[in-house]
């Protein structure tokens, strides 16, 4: 049976297609880079191709505007992610292993939440945060975001734990492991892949989250990147070069993150979906 491989023409076609697609997908990346070196005049006269002289000054300006916010974003994103997963994993363990009375009701209710449009609930949520003195504080913000992240994480993790062989838990239990220990020593190692994937997804979404920080944070020195940059570009005359440089800088941490975790991620998303 050596007819598996197709002719060279077909193969070339496939690769050609993929490279074209890649080119298109990378377009924004390219533009971001090119424009970040332009003065407004250059940007105006020749937007899409590199122009000389390159204005490295833009990057300095960009850094000055963004630098302040990076720390906030990292703090916010990491705190949120850790909190979200810590809470979700434990709950998922219960949902995945046991049928506790009324558990399913809560489960249904949880899934319904995914469909709730948020705008109108924004005001009540805000009032609530006010009552709890959670406004203008990164911690408060990350707690709320963690609540938002629950639904997806639970949904995916539960299916995973459900499909894990019973034996793992049984052995652990025979060794007298408490529920919590079972989570630590059985669930976490076994679901490492999917957990890290969820972590990345959470991280990215928090990193890009906009409306909530915009509303709940007051002091400029607390703002995360997305909002800080929004303020920068809300100016009545855009300085395109520094703007793009700033955005580029704000993207770098994500690049680093991906560089390290790509492997889990690519696998994880897939696995998660099949279970879903």
């Amino acid at each position: 049976m050596s007819r598996m491989s197709e002719g060279p023409g077909a193969r070339f076609l496939k690769h050609a297609y993929l490279w074209v697609m890649l080119a298109l997908v990378f377009m924004p990346f390219y533009v971001m880079l090119v424009v970040s070196f332009k003065s407004n005049a250059q940007f105006y006269n020749q937007t899409w191709l590199p122009t000389w002289p390159l204005h490295f000054g833009n990057w300095v300006v960009g850094w000055n505007t963004v630098g302040v916010h990076i720390a906030n974003s990292v703090f916010l994103a990491v705190t949120t992610t850790v909190l979200t997963l810590a809470v979700a994993i434990i709950a998922a363990y219960v949902f995945g292993r046991y049928k506790v009375p009324l558990g399913d009701l809560f489960w249904m209710a949880l899934l319904l939440l995914m469909l709730m449009p948020g705008v109108a609930n924004l005001i009540p949520l805000f009032n609530l945060m006010k009552r709890l003195n959670m406004l203008n504080s990164l911690i408060g913000l990350s707690i709320v975001s963690a609540a938002g992240g629950q639904v997806l994480c639970l949904y995916v993790l539960r299916n995973f734990i459900e499909d894990m062989p019973k034996e793992f838990f049984e052995c652990a239990r025979i060794d007298g492991a408490s529920h919590f220990q079972q989570v630590m020593h059985v669930v976490v190692p076994q679901c490492g892949g999917i957990i890290s994937t969820l972590a990345i997804l959470n991280f990215v979404s928090t990193w890009n989250s906009f409306i909530l920080p915009l509303i709940t944070l007051r002091d400029p020195e607390l703002l995360p990147l997305a909002v800080g940059l929004y303020h920068l570009q809300g100016a009545y005359v855009k300085e395109w070069g520094p703007l793009m440089a700033a955005y580029f800088i704000s993207a770098i941490p994500l690049v680093v993150l991906f560089a390290f975790t790509m492997r889990f991620f690519i696998r994880g998303v897939g696995e998660g979906a099949i279970k879903g």
């Binding site: 009701l105 209710a109 609530l128 006010k130 009552r131 709890l132």
Partner: protein, 294 residues
């Protein structure tokens, strides 16, 4: 699902509990009352209510404190953004039981206003009750300054077009005769006490009434008197001057009068959007006058 709801209630309580940050601070009746009134004036009604209730309930509260507290409580319930008429009514009545003349007047006026408000909101017969109360107030305390405000509210309720679900416009004009009564109330007050502290306001009301029924001469006369008696508000004053001049020119064709008041307007209100128009109109009426002369 019931479970979920129950959960929500629990968490709601948590939230509320956490929310009740500002406890009622201590302090002498006077200080607390000032705090309450300030809260009232800045629109923190919940604070105001809690303060006033606190003082009113305090055993050591003096009669004055009681009076101020109950008045504040009633007024807050009555005029807060989402009025609570039943409780306002109840506190006004408590106020009335204090039996100092001041308390009695304030409570009567308050109750009347609540009645009127409920009447406007569509409760049957309330309007009449309110008006009756106000008349009683006028009868019992004719020479107390509070009567002035009573007159204004009474007149207002008689003159105002009533909201009316049935009417295509959502409002219906007052039935014939009611407006006249409104006007009479004002005019009587102005006869008995022509220089009461709200006299200018009353004249303005009368002027508005006459304008609306097209008796422009009377309207202008009242405006002129109001202006003579002295209007405290700068903006109000500019409007009055303009109205006199405009009506005199367009309706009465009394160019002398128009000229005098345009002139005053142009002299006193340089920094208004009507300034240029006033100067222009002044030229015009002068020209017209000249024509008449010739």
């Amino acid at each position: 699902m019931r479970r979920a709801i129950g959960l929500l209630l629990v968490s709601a309580c948590v939230a509320l509990a956490a929310g009740c940050g500002e406890g009622a601070g201590e302090g002498s009746g006077g200080a607390r009352l000032e705090e309450g009134w300030r809260a009232y004036s800045t629109g923190d009604f919940d604070v105001a209510v809690s303060v006033f209730e606190g003082v009113a309930a305090a055993p050591e509260a003096t009669a004055e404190d009681q009076y101020s507290a109950l008045l504040g409580l009633a007024t807050t319930h009555h005029l807060r953004t989402n009025p609570d008429f039943p409780r306002a009514r109840e506190s006004y009545e408590r106020l009335g039981e204090l039996e100092t003349p001041d308390a009695l007047r304030q409570s009567t006026l308050g109750l009347a206003l609540v009645d009127l408000a409920e009447g406007t909101a569509g409760l049957e017969g309330r309007t009449n009750e309110g008006q009756a109360r106000l008349m009683a107030l006028l009868r019992d305390f004719p020479d107390d300054p509070i009567a002035d405000e009573a007159v204004i509210h009474l007149a207002a309720s008689l003159l105002e077009p009533m909201p009316d679900k049935a009417a295509p416009a959502g409002f219906s004009l007052p039935p014939s005769g009611r407006e006249e009564r409104g006007a009479n109330v004002l005019e009587q007050r102005l006869q008995t006490d022509p220089d009461n502290r709200l006299a200018p306001s009353m004249h303005i009301m009368l002027a508005n009434h006459y304008k609306s029924i097209g008796q422009m001469r009377e309207a202008v006369d009242h405006l002129i008197i109001a202006e003579k008696k002295g209007i405290a508000g700068v903006k109000t004053r500019s409007v009055v001057l303009w109205q006199i001049a405009r009506i005199a020119e367009n309706e009465l064709k009394d160019y002398d009068l128009a000229a005098t008041y345009y002139e005053r307007y142009a002299r006193e209100f340089k920094r208004t959007t009507l300034f240029y128009r006033a100067r222009e109109s002044l030229e015009r009426v002068r020209a017209l006058k000249a024509q008449e002369g010739a």
